[in-house]
Amino acid sequence: MAIIFLSPLAGRWPQMFGRHVLLAVLLGFLLTIPWSVLSFQEDPCYKLARGVKLLGAENIFYHRHFFISTVSQIWIS
């Protein structure tokens, strides 16, 4: 700690560190959040909902069905 505080960067390292953290968070946001938003917008239920909402739909309820083979063993934990 003493070395950090005595170095020429002593007054600047919090800003530099903060800048890197901010950059990392921003990059993380750009890489992950838009991807999840995009994938959600491709969701068939979302697309159906967007259509029926334009018609004034109320009380929308969603069902997603997965047809699972019973030939091999299924594990749900």
């Binding site: 159906l48 259509g51 309820f61 069902h63 047809f67 299924i74 594990w75």
Partner: protein, 145 residues
């Protein structure tokens, strides 16, 4: 670990045949049901996942006379291509094809993957709409189990 267990639910039902079962994820929150469905499908071996179907039900304001117009309007909003429409006294059944969903089945050589059913409910004075991609499942079978 399941990320969303509160605003969506799931259940496992037997299929119409013995070689498959149906995992149904339901909820009023579209995103929560998707997250839960994604989490559950991650637990399954991909080779066991035979197919998926998406189903939405809701209520619309309108009368029995509006059924056909509403169903055709929805097909247009979904950028679908109409395959067939059947009109009954207080219901309309419609088949169409939407290009944005990859799976479809062939009817008379043409692809179909959007199934709509609109039914007027005189008691509530509203229209019950059910939409299914690529098929509209008859839920009554699973509700009995």
């Amino acid at each position: 670990m399941l990320r969303s267990a509160t605003s969506a639910g799931w259940r496992l039902s037997s299929g119409l045949e013995e070689n498959y079962v149906v995992l149904q994820v339901s909820g009023a929150d579209c995103l929560a049901s998707k997250i839960l469905a994604d989490d559950l499908s991650d637990l399954l071996a991909q080779e066991d996942l035979l197919s998926q179907a998406y189903h939405l039900e809701c209520y619309l304001q309108g009368r029995a006379d509006d059924l056909e117009d509403l169903s055709l309007a929805l097909v247009n909003l979904l950028e679908g291509e109409l395959f067939s429409i059947q009109r009954y006294h207080e219901s309309v059944h419609l088949l169409a094809y939407v290009r944005w969903y990859k799976e479809s089945f062939l009817l008379e050589g043409k692809p179909v993957n959007l199934n709509l059913e609109l039914k007027y409910d005189p008691a509530s004075g509203s229209i019950r709409l059910q939409a299914g991609i690529p098929v509209l499942l008859t839920l009554s079978h699973y509700e009995k189990i």
